[in-house]
Every structure is written in C-alpha cells, then in structure tokens.
Assembly symmetry: C2
Homo-oligomer: 187 residues x 2
C-alpha cells in the first residue's frame, strides 16, 4: 500500500490516535486502511464414506489435490461461500452439515473453514479451476499430493473421528505444525 | 475505492479475465483489489453461571451492552483475537473452551465468532472501549440494551442449551432475523 485509494495522496504508516498498532493512514484525508485476515470457505464432501477431492488447475499448488474451497465474497454467508466453491470447483451439489474445522493460517492472514457436507448422488465434474475431481476411500487419499496443510489436517481429523455432531476443530496451523515437528524430532 | 494504492492511477470497476464478478482493477498496473468479509472475534465469558458483559464506550452503539469482541488482526489466530479483545475490553483473562457461534452479518460484510470461555476468578475492569463491565445472571441480562443482534443471538442460544461440547451454532443473521420476523407476524 503506497497511495490513498480515496484521494491518491501518499500514505504514512503510523499508529492512529486511540489505536495500538501501525496502520496505513492518509495524511491528507485522514482515511485509515485496516488490513484483516480473509476467510477461505469450503466443504468436506462425503458420499458413502468416500471423500470428494479436486486436483487444482491453477496456482498455487497446481496439480495437487484439495477439498473444494475458496475466498468468501462480500454479501454472502460462510455457508453460501462453501456451497458456491463446491459447485464452482467440483460441480457438486452438497447438503451442509456441521462446521467441521476452523483453522487460522497466520503467516498468510487467512482463516480456513470447512463444513462437513453430504454428497447424496455421485454427480460431479471438474470446474474451471480443477483438472479432475474424484471420490477417494480413506486408504486411497493421496496424502503426499495434497495442496495445503489445512486440507491434510481437516482430512486427518475427519478420519480420526467422523462423528458429525462433535465440537468444531479450531486451531492455528502454525502451532499445529510446530507441535507435529516437535513430536517428530522428539520421536 | 477510487485510486490504485500501488500507483495512484484511477481505478476501473470491471470483471477481470477468468473471474465472474466485478472488482476494482487498475488499468495502469493491472492490480486487482478484492474486498472480503472481516472477522469479529470474541468470547462468551462464564463465571459460576454468570455472563460477563461490557457496556460500550464507543460508537457504534455507545452505552449498550455487548460480549467482549472486536476485529481480528493480521498475524493472529481467531483464538488470540478473542482473548486479546476480552482483555482489552473487559481486562479479563479467560480460558477458551469450544467455538460457540459463527454468525455471518452479510449486510455489513462481517463474520462474528464467539468462543465459550471460562472466567475462573471474578477479576475484570472496564478497558478503554468500555464504560463498565459486569457479571449478569440469566434473569438480569439487559435484553433491550444489547448492542448487536449477534450478541443477543449468541446469549439466547447459550441459555437454550449451555452444553459446551455441542456443534457450533453457524448461521446468517439476516436469515435468522427474517425467520424471527416471520414467526412474529404469523403468530
């Protein structure tokens, strides 16, 4: 951020009055530009015990497998965003169940949320952002070809306990990875 | 948004290639400015069956009661944001339990999330953004002086079923209010 989007003046990066952290502030029109985390919403679609995954046709992580998910847009709910992304990426219509995971990814300022969802009929196809879409049994999940740690974590926790009515898994991906590393190096 | 924050050129509002909705796009440097919902994170602090509420010292809704909550910042997790806001507004240190509610407020592009939290000791005070902070029994909750619908809904659902291990309450505040209105006018 260099210029004010209201008046095109050059921005300063200072702590505004009454605030406790630096923000981009316009010295001409006094506008303050807050920067906040973005939500990525998606689903964990289940059909007869199998999971629907999409192989990404776009960067980042082109060619890797992911759960259908993407940036939540203004004006929609988290549930609408999850359903829209599932349609756009996997051309699948699902029934949302409970919120399954909410995972902060602090190094890229994102919060990823996945709803457990039922795919009643095995009807799906690759959307514009997918190379292919397929159903996987637990033993066939391509663990080494998953696109993002939040996808691996969500799948891992799903297979560890697939009860739909449990409390959501809410955690920080950085802390979760540091713990996993600690466990590996101490084991 | 009128000017590019990278190069100060005047922005256009068009559908970029490969996208399906209009965005602010810079015709000079091609930067695309996405606008996404922001997260408000807070807690539902419980001490011996009483709930901790803060009376707001700032607009909007100055003088009204709220659960401690505020905008999540870049670089922190949802849990850290909830704890920080509880400290800033109520000077209270709580133990987070499960995610209790995640409520989209689509008309202002916000998602409000509240964690159930235990306030072990009755130690709290008004932070800079609060006029006063107090513990309330269910029968004393100032229902007509609550600041925001997401706070009322969260409290209402808490008293309806205070089991901590249930699935999170995830919904759209607009739809919830439309349903309530429908029920009222049909009743």
């Amino acid at each position: 951020m260099k210029y004010c989007s209201h008046c095109a003046s050059e921005l300063t990066y200072i702590i505004p009055d009454g605030d406790n952290r630096p923000r981009f502030v316009c010295p001409a029109c006094q506008a303050i530009f807050y920067q906040n985390p973005r939500i990525v919403a998606g689903t964990l679609p289940v059909h007869n015990g199998q999971i629907l995954l999409c192989r990404r046709a776009i960067e980042p992580r082109r060619g890797f497998w992911t759960l259908p998910a993407g940036f939540m847009e203004n004006g929609e709910s988290t549930e609408q965003a999850a359903l829209r992304e599932t349609w756009e990426e996997a051309q699948a219509v699902v029934q949302l169940q409970s919120l399954f995971s909410m995972i902060t990814v602090p190094h890229i300022d994102q919060v990823h949320i996945f709803f457990l969802a039922e795919l009643e009929k095995a009807e799906f196809a690759a959307g514009d952002e997918s190379l292919e879409v397929a159903l996987f049994n637990e033993e066939d999940i391509p663990w080494n070809e998953l696109a993002f740690p939040t996808v691996s974590q969500t799948l891992k926790r799903y297979f560890a306990d697939s009860s739909a009515q449990q409390a959501a898994h809410v955690f920080d991906i950085g802390i979760s990875q540091a713990l996993a590393k600690g466990l590996k190096s101490s084991g």
